[in-house]
């Protein structure tokens, strides 16, 4: 059999027009603001230009779009976890980053990724000297309870950052606190994985300043 010539095949395909067979790579068109102070959290808007993964099912008369995505700053996954209006993704950046430049990436559900190299800068901040936690009574495991954390030292009143939470036994959730306000943060936590044991809750900021609670029993 005589093979079809490349010219005839290209003409055949040319009848249908030209176009990629894969979706184009997404791009990050802007990051606003592009920097923050290390001790002050920020809400950053990452604007994404992308054709989201989609599928048109003519037989069913249906179409679907997968809005799932992952935003990372310096490799750390941050919210949101899905596409928002017009590609403007609001990302809360905690004060867990040391001063420096960080790559910002957005990975879509089909694996395509937009990358802004050194797209976000963290500037040095003013940190508390330490933290204190108000007395914690005995608790029940897996039952939420309140914790009040106070920043200590000369910069305590202006601190608007986050701290990480940890326990000496079991697990605590969340692992990162919300933003402090005027040096105080009231957080609701859950301790699990322990029973009838004494537990100490410890908070730590990205500069290594810490504070610890009293020992309390979790039943």
């Amino acid at each position: 059999m005589r093979p079809a010539s490349p010219l005839s095949l290209s003409l055949l395909l040319g009848l249908a027009g030209c176009g990629p067979s894969a979706l184009p790579a997404p791009t990050i068109s802007s990051i606003e603001p592009g920097e923050m102070v290390a001790s002050e959290g920020a809400f950053v808007v990452v604007t994404l230009d992308a054709v989201l993964p989609f599928r048109a099912s003519y037989g069913k008369g249906e179409a679907s779009v997968d809005p799932a995505l992952v935003v990372t700053f310096g490799g750390v996954p941050l919210g949101p976890n899905q596409y928002e209006s017009e590609g403007r993704l609001s990302v809360p950046v905690p004060t867990l980053f040391s001063p420096g430049s960080y790559d910002v990436s957005v990975r879509l559900a089909d694996g395509r990724e937009a990358l802004a190299v050194d797209g976000f800068t963290v500037n040095p901040g003013l940190w508390p000297d330490s933290y204190s936690l108000e007395r914690i009574d005995n608790q029940r495991r897996n039952v939420p309870f309140g914790v009040v954390i106070r920043a200590q030292g000369p910069n305590a009143a202006s601190f608007r950052g986050n701290v990480t939470l940890s326990v000496n036994r079991g697990q605590v959730s969340p692992r990162t606190s919300g933003l402090f306000s005027a040096g105080i943060r009231a957080e609701t936590v859950i301790v699990s994985g322990v029973f009838s044991q004494s537990v100490i809750l410890t908070v730590t900021d990205s500069e290594g300043h810490t504070g610890a609670s009293n020992s309390f029993t979790v039943n």
Binding site: L13, L23, G59
Partner: protein, 437 residues
């Protein structure tokens, strides 16, 4: 040798090989005789054909091979005319026609007035009817028989030694004296047919006017009571329709027709011409898989299959779209496919101008998919699918053009990572084909 003698010799030769026919009785008195028994003996491998210009000629069962019996029934009309019966063997060649004329004699009572008590006779075509005595008021009704072609009668009266005669018109309507056949019933497109025109008596063949739609007629033999024409179909004609009239006789008209086929029945293949065509219609494959389908094509008849097989190639156009909601808003998608296909059409039935065909084929299906997802840029992709189909076509030949309707079932998946569509399913198409000159 003069042309007239040549023509006469030609028919003599025909008559020698024509079917032998005997009829009993040889004339029919309308209203009295039921009809005529006809016995025919013929030779050859073709079909014996029989036609009557008026009345009915019914084939009777039974009889040895080569012999056939018919019964001829006269028409319900009672006026006198000549029944012209034609017999020939249809074998695809020049017909050898036996023409039998059966006078249909009318019966009536001729009313006349004369002297009371007069003896009245009526002479019709040299036959005398009567005598009948006139009543007291001189009225008389004489039963008579009127043979075809007789338009007047002579009333003869005798009263007290005096004889009178009077010619009276009979008021017989004029009958159509012409009969025509076009044989064979199915003429090959590249073959020829024959038109035979017979007269109830004798006539001048030069006065015949013959028009054939779909073909050309050429006179090949003539006699005082019949003429033979050869008829050649025109290219692309689906039928031959012959109309015959006779100058000077407005009642003399005859009509005959034959179907033009793409092949000679039982004979060699016919050379059909390559053709081009176009079709358009609608396809539906479920859900949003529905839209316009258009195609341009060409066909090449394969000579090896008597013109019944046609190799076809076509390029087409199909377009359909989808609008649907998603979690982020509406998505608009549109597909344009350009099928390039090859197929084989088989003509399974031909009846007059009508045809029925089946068709199978396959092809490539280049396509273009454009989509506008919600809150994102538009996207265009292309791909190459395939298709396979089977269809039924009903066609109708109108001169050189064949119109057709097609019901097609197609498997034609059109798929990418983002598209699940179908360009096939069921399609209803209409179109036309034209033979190339």
């Amino acid at each position: 040798m003069s042309p007239g003698l040549l023509a006469a010799l030609s028919f003599c030769m025909l008559a020698g090989a024509a079917p032998q026919v005997s009829v009993k009785p040889t004339r029919v008195v309308l209203g009295r005789d039921k009809g005529v028994e006809v016995r025919v003996s013929s030779h050859g491998s073709g079909n014996l054909r029989a036609v009557a210009n008026v009345g009915a000629l019914r084939e009777q069962s039974g009889g040895p091979k080569g012999f056939q019996r018919y019964f001829y029934s006269p028409p319900s009309d009672r006026f006198p005319q000549v029944a012209v019966l034609l017999f020939w063997v249809e074998d695809g060649g020049r017909p050898e026609v036996k023409v039998v004329r059966v006078p249909l004699v009318g019966r009536t009572e001729l009313e006349a007035t004369s002297e009371p008590g007069a003896t009245v006779r009526v002479e019709v075509a040299k036959a005398i009817f009567g005598p009948v005595k006139a009543d007291s008021r001189g009225r008389v009704a004489v039963p008579i028989e009127v043979p075809p072609g007789t338009t007047v009668a002579t009333v003869l009266a005798e009263f007290r030694g005096l004889s009178t005669s009077r010619v009276v018109p009979l008021g017989v309507p004029r009958a159509n004296p012409l009969t025509a056949i076009l044989t064979p019933d199915k003429v090959a497109a590249d073959g020829e047919g024959f038109l035979v025109v017979a007269h109830a008596a004798s006539f001048d063949p030069a006065g015949l006017e013959v028009r054939v739609e779909g073909g050309r007629a050429e006179r090949v033999a003539a006699d005082s009571d019949r003429v033979l024409y050869r008829v050649v179909p025109e290219r692309g004609a689906g039928q031959l329709r012959a109309k015959v009239s006779l100058r000077g006789d407005p009642e003399a008209r005859a009509f005959a027709e034959s179907e033009v086929l793409g092949e000679v029945p039982g004979g060699p293949g016919t050379r059909r011409r390559p053709e081009v065509g176009a079709s358009a219609g609608y396809f539906w494959a479920g859900g949003a898989n529905a839209g316009l389908a258009v195609a341009l094509g060409a066909g090449y008849p394969l000579p090896a299959a008597s013109g019944r097989l046609t190799l076809e190639a076509a390029v087409g156009f199909r377009s359909w779209s989808l609008s649907a909601g998603t979690v982020l808003g509406g998505l608009r998608s549109a597909v344009l496919a350009l099928p390039v296909e090859a197929g084989l059409r088989v003509t399974v039935l031909e009846r007059g101008a009508a045809t029925l065909s089946g068709k199978v084929g396959a092809g490539l299906l280049p396509f273009r998919h454009s989509a506008t997802p919600p809150a994102g840029r538009s996207f265009v992709e292309t791909g190459l699918g395939y298709e396979a189909y089977a269809s039924l076509q009903g066609g109708f030949r109108a001169g050189p053009v064949e119109l057709f309707a097609e019901l097609r079932g197609t498997i034609a998946p059109v798929r990418t990572a983002r598209l699940d569509a179908d360009a096939g399913g069921l399609a209803l198409l209409g179109g036309a084909r034209f033979p190339l000159p």
